[in-house]
Symmetry: C2
Subunit: 159 residues, 2 copies
């Protein structure tokens, strides 16, 4: 099974549920996730999606990525989310492989991902580290006191 690069208008609702179900994101983060989908549906090329659909067509996992403005082939992996019901099956790893492949096709060589240093984001950090990302920078108290931002980077192997 491969991921669907075509976002549909009724995916936004699934994306909201999926991000809420993940259980770690604040309400304003959930809103941001939905806004990126709306922007993509409006034709904004800054945000691209890969969607993992269940049999009903509903989105069970997705990634959102895009080229970082004013850079030369640097991409940001804004979101990668898998439904809690489907975790532990390697879907996140496959979604990431397909996202990296899409980024390479677009001429991208460096991928950035940002996450929090808080304990409830430990699974996210482990996922990035197990997937070949390394910590490029850490900004202390970035989100709020005691909540650091960690910037991960992965250099993609050329095809």
């Amino acid at each position: 099974m491969s991921c669907d690069p075509v976002l549909r208008i009724d995916d936004t609702g699934h994306i909201r549920v999926l991000v809420e179900e993940a259980g770690v994101f604040r309400p304003e983060e959930v809103d941001v996730a939905c806004e990126l989908a709306s922007d993509a549906l409006s034709g904004d090329p800054s945000y691209r999606f890969l969607l993992w659909r269940g049999e009903s067509g509903a989105v069970d996992a997705y990634s959102c990525y895009g080229e970082i403005p004013i850079t030369d082939g640097r991409f940001d992996l804004y979101w990668i989310v898998v439904s809690p019901r489907l975790q532990g099956q390697g879907i996140g790893a496959q979604l990431l492989r397909e996202t990296e492949s899409a980024i390479r096709t677009l001429g991208g060589g460096h991928v950035y991902a940002e996450t929090s240093g808080l304990p409830n984001y430990t699974p996210a950090r482990r996922f990035y580290e197990a997937s070949g990302f390394t910590e490029a920078a850490r900004l202390s108290d970035f989100y709020r006191e005691g909540d650091d931002k960690i910037i991960y980077r992965k250099l993609l192997a050329q095809a």
Copy 2:
């Protein structure tokens, strides 16, 4: 003289000229500067402006700043630009003081500014360092090979 917080529709053209005259920004960066002004004029609260106007009302210097989404009172100083004709008169420092004051009024305590590590951005880095910003992180080859991103941060004193 204090800065004008009200962006007008005909300021976008002045902003384009100002950013082009600065001589360090790439064409795509000039476009981004103008897009932020257009977004602000469309009512997007993410981008706020302070404008230093000459006698004719034309913009001779400006700052663009805004709260960083999903943070608690962290602000980004997206742009601060002074016309080359007016540099060396302390206008940048006054503009920055007024911007910091506006950020404090909005409840902000941390200000971030990003710039390039390339030699032609040395005046920008010196300006930030002389103004109390310190280097919080450096991302090597961020913009392109050999062109690092430097992330500066300033903690504002509480009024």
